[in-house]
C-alpha cells in the first residue's frame, strides 16, 4: 500500500463522516451514551473500592504484653520483623490508662490503686488485607498475652472489596454485550444506507480492503469522538458531584477527579475505538460479497 493511498483513506474517512452527517451523529451519540454508562459504572465501582481499601488500611492490631515480657526494644524488634508490618507503636500501661481515661472522661482512672493494664503495642500492616495473617503470627510471639483486632470487621471489609470488584466486573461485562449490540446495530444502519456505494466501488475494481479501510477509519474516528464527548461529560459531571461530596469527605472519602483521570480516559478511548472499529468491520463485511 502506498503512502498516498493511506492518506487517501484517511481523507475519505473524514469526508465520509461529513457527507453523512446525520448517520455520523447517530453513531457518535450511541457510542457516547454507551461510554457514559461504562464511565458511570467505573466511577461508582472505583469509589466503592476506594472506600473499602481506605477503611482497610486504617486497621490495626493491638498486642497486649505479659507481665514478665522482655523489655520494649526486644518486643519492638520481634514485632517489626513480621513480614507485612509497616510500623509498630509502643503504648505503655500509663499511656493506656490515659487513653482509657479519656474515653470515660476521667483523668485519674487508676490513681488510687495499681494500674492493672498491661503494656501494649499497636501494629500497623502495610496492606489492610493482611491484618488477619499478621494477628495470627503475633499471637505466637512469646511475651504476647493477647491479640485484639476487629476480626469480623476485617472479614467484612475483605469480602466487601472483593465483592465490589466482582459485581462491578459482572455489570460492566453485561453492559458491554448489551451496548455492543446497540452500537453495532446503529453502525450497521449507517453502513446499510451506504451499501450501494460499497457495491459500486467493488464493480469499479476496488479490492475488499480498499473499501474497508475508509469505513474502518471512519468508525475509529467516530469512536474517538464519542469517547471524547463522554469523557468531557463525565468529568464535568464528576467534578460537580465531587465538589458536593467533599464536604462529607471525612466520613465519605471520594476520589478526586484527578485520581481517576488517566485510567478512565484510556479505558473510554479504547472502548470507543473498539466499538467504532468492530461496528464498521462487521457491517461492511456483509456488503462486500459483490
Amino acid at each position: 500500500m502506498k503512502i498516498r493511498t493511506v492518506r487517501y483513506f484517511s481523507r475519505e474517512a473524514v469526508r465520509g463522516i461529513f457527507r453523512n452527517k446525520l448517520m455520523s451523529l447517530a453513531a457518535v451519540g450511541t457510542i457516547t451514551m454507551a461510554l457514559l454508562i461504562f464511565g458511570g459504572l467505573y466511577l461508582v465501582t472505583s469509589n466503592l473500592q476506594y472506600w473499602g481499601q481506605r477503611a482497610r488500611n486504617q486497621l490495626e492490631v493491638r498486642a497486649f504484653l505479659t507481665k514478665n515480657a522482655p523489655d520494649r526494644q526486644v518486643m519492638e524488634e520481634r514485632l517489626s520483623s513480621i513480614p507485612g508490618v509497616k510500623s509498630v507503636k509502643f503504648i505503655s500501661k500509663e499511656e493506656g490508662a490515659r487513653i482509657l481515661g479519656e474515653m470515660f472522661g476521667q483523668t485519674d482512672l487508676f490513681s488510687h490503686g495499681e494500674n492493672p493494664l498491661p503494656d501494649s503495642f499497636n501494629i500497623y500492616p502495610v496492606r489492610g488485607a493482611d491484618v488477619e495473617a499478621i494477628a495470627v503470627k503475633i499471637e505466637r510471639i512469646s511475651g504476647v498475652e493477647e491479640v485484639v483486632y476487629g476480626r469480623n470487621f476485617v472479614r467484612f471489609l475483605n469480602l466487601f472489596v472483593r465483592l465490589i470488584w466482582i459485581v462491578g466486573l459482572i455489570l460492566i461485562s453485561l453492559t458491554v454485550f448489551a451496548v455492543l449490540y446497540i452500537v453495532i446495530n446503529t453502525i450497521q444502519l449507517t453502513v446499510y444506507a451506504r451499501r450501494n456505494e460499497i457495491e459500486i466501488m467493488k464493480l469499479v475494481g476496488a479490492t475488499d480492503s480498499f473499501v474497508r479501510w475508509p469505513f474502518l477509519l471512519e468508525g475509529i474516528y467516530l469512536g474517538i469522538t464519542g469517547a471524547l464527548v463522554s469523557i468531557l461529560l463525565l468529568f464535568q459531571g464528576y467534578t460537580i458531584l465531587y465538589g458536593k461530596a467533599k464536604s462529607f469527605a471525612r466520613i465519605l472519602p471520594v476520589l478526586s477527579s484527578f485520581e481517576v483521570t488517566m485510567d478512565l480516559i484510556v479505558f473510554l478511548l479504547i472502548m470507543g475505538i473498539f466499538f467504532g472499529a468492530l461496528g464498521s468491520i462487521l457491517s461492511v463485511r456483509r456488503y462486500l460479497k459483490v
Partner: protein, 228 residues
C-alpha cells in the same frame, strides 16, 4: 475477447435471463446488443463483469474463465473492463471529479497522473464545468456521461456500454458515439447494448439481436431489425 458457449443464467427467482447463449467477440470489435426490454442484455453484461455467476455453460473474457475466478482476483479482473451502467452507478457522496478519479484511486495511480487523466476525460465528455457537483445535482444525461468518463479513464481493454445514449438528446448521443468509435479505433473492444435504432442503422456494425435470452440474429454490418 469474449467467448460464450451454451451460457445460461437462471436467477434464484426462476427467471431465465440467458439460455443456450453462444457468442464470440474478437479483440477490437464493435458490437451492438439489441433486443426488447427484458431480453437479457444487461444480464449478459453483469455476467461478463462477474457481478453474477453463470448457471451453466462457458464464459471466457480475455483468456479467463469467469466462473473460475477466485474471490481476490475479481477486482483485478474488473480493472480491465470499463462499464457504463444502465443505471450509471455513481457514488452519491462523491463529486463528479471524485467519481471518475475513483477508478484510478483503486489502482493506486499517481496523484499527478490522476489529475491529468481525469481532467482529460472530463473535457472529452464535456463536463469540466460540473466537476465539483454531486450526482444528485446532475441531469440524467450528465450522470450518464460521468459514468462513461469513469469507464474510459482507466483505458480498459473492454468497454461495456449499457444504453449509453438512453438519456441523451440526438446531438449529444452522436457526440458520445463518436467518442466510442474513437476509443474502439484505438484498440478497445466495445460492446454496446442499445434501443437506439437510428444509431445502429447508421453505424452499420456487427449486431447481435437477443430475444428471451437467446441469440436470434448475429449479423456483421447489420441493422436494428431484420428488415433494415
Amino acid at each position: 475477447m469474449i467467448t460464450t458457449r451454451n451460457l445460461t443464467k437462471r436467477f434464484s427467482n426462476g427467471v431465465v435471463a440467458l439460455q443456450d447463449f453462444s457468442l464470440h467477440i474478437d479483440k477490437g470489435e464493435f458490437v451492438f446488443l439489441v433486443g426488447p426490454s427484458g431480453a437479457g442484455k444487461s444480464s449478459f453484461i453483469n455476467l461478463v463483469i462477474r457481478k453474477e455467476l453463470p448457471t451453466s455453460g462457458l464464459l471466457k473474457v480475455g483468456n479467463m474463465d469467469v466462473a473460475l475466478l477466485k474471490k481476490n482476483e475479481i477486482p483485478y479482473f474488473r480493472r480491465n473492463i470499463g462499464v457504463i451502467f444502465q443505471d450509471f452507478k455513481l457514488l452519491p457522496n462523491k463529486t463528479v471529479y471524485e467519481n471518475i478519479s475513483f477508478a484510478l484511486e483503486v489502482i493506486e495511480a499517481d496523484t499527478r497522473e490522476i489529475k491529468i487523466r481525469v481532467n482529460y476525460v472530463l473535457d472529452l465528455v464535456g463536463l469540466t464545468h460540473k466537476r465539483n457537483e454531486f450526482p444528485s445535482e446532475l441531469s440524467g444525461g450528465e450522470q450518464q456521461r460521468v459514468s462513461l468518463a469513469r469507464a474510459i479513464v482507466n483505458r480498459p481493454h473492454l468497454l461495456l456500454a449499457d444504453e449509453p445514449t438512453g438519456n441523451l438528446d440526438p446531438e449529444t448521443s452522436w457526440g458520445i458515439m463518436e467518442l466510442l468509435k474513437e476509443i474502439n479505433k484505438r484498440g478497445t473492444t466495445v460492446v454496446m447494448a442499445t434501443h437506439n435504432k437510428d444509431i445502429v442503422d447508421r453505424l452499420r456494425r456487427r449486431v447481435v439481436a437477443i430475444e428471451n435470452g437467446r441469440i436470434i440474429r448475429d449479423e456483421l454490418k447489420g441493422g436494428y431489425s431484420l428488415e433494415d
